[in-house]
Amino acid sequence: MSEIMRADNVSMIFGGLTAVDNISLTMEDNEILSLIGPNGAGKTTFFNMLTGVYQPTFGTITFYGENITKLKPYERVAKGISRTFQNIRLFSSMTTLENLLVAHPKCNSENIGRVLLGGKKLKKARQEIVEECEEILEIVGLKDKEDELATNLSYGKQRLLEIGRALATNPKLVLLDEPGAGMNSMEKEELSTLIRYITQKMDKKVLLIEHDMRFVMGISDRILVLDHGELIANGKPEEIQQNQMVIEAYLGKGMTDEE
């Protein structure tokens, strides 16, 4: 098993508030890793450090052996990290297909000169991009909606589109921020299948943040639990279920496993 990503002693301090306190973790190959924890545990902050939205106050982040701590989000995308958002951030005035197209590295890096000159070669290159994106749409199950505006899709479909968009960047690792939020149980079932497909058939790694315990337990190979910015547990789903600290963290805060 090789190491994909690791965080070493990462902390994030906003003003006087320590949102993430000295967390270290490693993500191994061939595992679906999940990050859970009660509200305000620092999950999203940690997530944002992995994607580059925040620069950690202390600590380093390594991706396939390369130090990416100082890299900006778009630079991390080039390294192969892509993400979805907790509050959906689609390009709402664009169509479903366009949301994917624009995420495709060959599309958004088109050379201006070539664009202005036009020509057959460009046409052919574009055809390939469109085909690749349509393939991804097929995978996330939105092929029949490809010409709809993103804003007209149902909530659950918008979440799927975000995953599709993340996949279109041709990533090695996909970070999913609460992908199941707002979905009904049937949609969640489909989501699980999709995530497994992504890891097994497309050979992408997945790290996800989730609230829904049942969903997380069902899909994860390993689970990390954050509380008050600290890592309180790390292990297989069964182990986490038994972990006293985790139960306290959740029940003590009056949280149930359903949002």
Binding site: T44, V53, Q86
Partner: protein, 292 residues
């Protein structure tokens, strides 16, 4: 000469600050730039002139009346020209264009009604100049500075110490949350426009009294400078508008005084750009962090 120029700068700056308050309050609450505010200032100046001149009312009745009318005009502008667009949920640019439309409308309306000429102001206060150690200062100049400072302190207290002020601050944080808390946000917005416009009217009357002139296009340059002052101080911040106004007045006066009068306005905008580059949220503005 330095002290004299400094005093000149403070006087002009006080007026910029009064107008800037209107920009900053509206921006604080609605996050829109009310480009018509400079013209509301002009209308205020004319209202003061007309009421004092034609009705023979004493100025302590005429001027507050003018403020009231100008405040109403401000509220009407919001009601008719901004609210429908706001409630549509349209782009902020749409409101900006509407504001530009209001500005064009008011300027040309004023030209049609009052003509294009410069009007001499009513002088109900005898002007006397004092000469202290080579520095000349007139009673009106002192009055302008003192009044500006008093009004700004009053506004600061209203915003920070009263219930209405609290409602205003809550609305500026988030309109939806404020509504959930039972605040009548539309009333708060109307009040903001009213207060801002009334202050602009005071500024108009002060300019009229101090410089003894008012004309339909006067709002353009004052409006622009006051807007710059609001941004300089940190738009959305009441003390920021005061600081920005005074600073802008002093910088442009000293720049014009010691370097070149031709580039007078360039100093004002130059410092503005510099400040924004190093402190993008203005001198006293809150740093904006994007939530993800």
């Amino acid at each position: 000469m330095f002290v004299q120029q400094l005093i000149n700068g403070i006087t002009v700056g006080g007026i910029y600050a009064l107008i800037a308050l209107g920009y900053t309050m509206v921006y604080g609450i609605l996050k829109i730039v009310n480009f018509a505010h400079g013209d509301v200032f002009m209308i205020g100046g004319f209202m003061g002139l007309i009421l004092a001149q034609t009705t023979n009312l004493p100025i302590w009745i005429a001027y507050p009346l003018a403020m009231l009318i100008t405040a109403l005009i401000g509220v009407l502008i919001e009601r008719i020209c901004y609210r429908p667009i706001r409630l549509h949920g349209a782009d902020a640019l749409a409101i900006l264009i509407s504001a530009l439309g209001v500005s064009i409308f008011l300027e040309n309306f004023a030209q049609l009604v009052w003509g294009t000429e410069t009007h001499a102001y009513v002088q109900k206060i005898q002007r006397t100049a004092y000469n202290i150690a080579g520095i000349t200062l007139s009673n009106i100049q002192i009055g302008v500075i003192v009044l500006c400072i008093i009004l700004m302190i009053v506004l600061y207290l209203v915003v920070n110490k009263t219930k209405m002020g609290m409602a205003m601050r809550a609305t500026s944080q988030s309109i939806t949350s404020a509504q959930l808390m039972g605040i009548n946000t539309e009333k708060v917005i109307a009040l903001t426009f009213g207060v801002g416009s009334a202050l602009a009217c005071v500024a108009g009357i002060l300019v009229g009294t101090y410089y003894d002139a008012v004309y339909p296009l006067i709002g353009y340059s004052y409006g622009l400078k006051a807007f710059a002052a609001a941004i300089l101080g940190g738009i959305g911040s009441v003390p920021g508008a005061m600081l920005g106004g005074f600073l802008l007045g002093i910088v442009e006066t000293l720049g014009a005084g010691y370097i070149s009068t031709g580039y007078r306005d360039a100093f004002a905008f130059g410092i503005l750009i510099l400040v924004l580059l190093f402190r993008p949220s203005g001198l006293l503005g809150k740093k904006h962090v994007d939530k993800v």
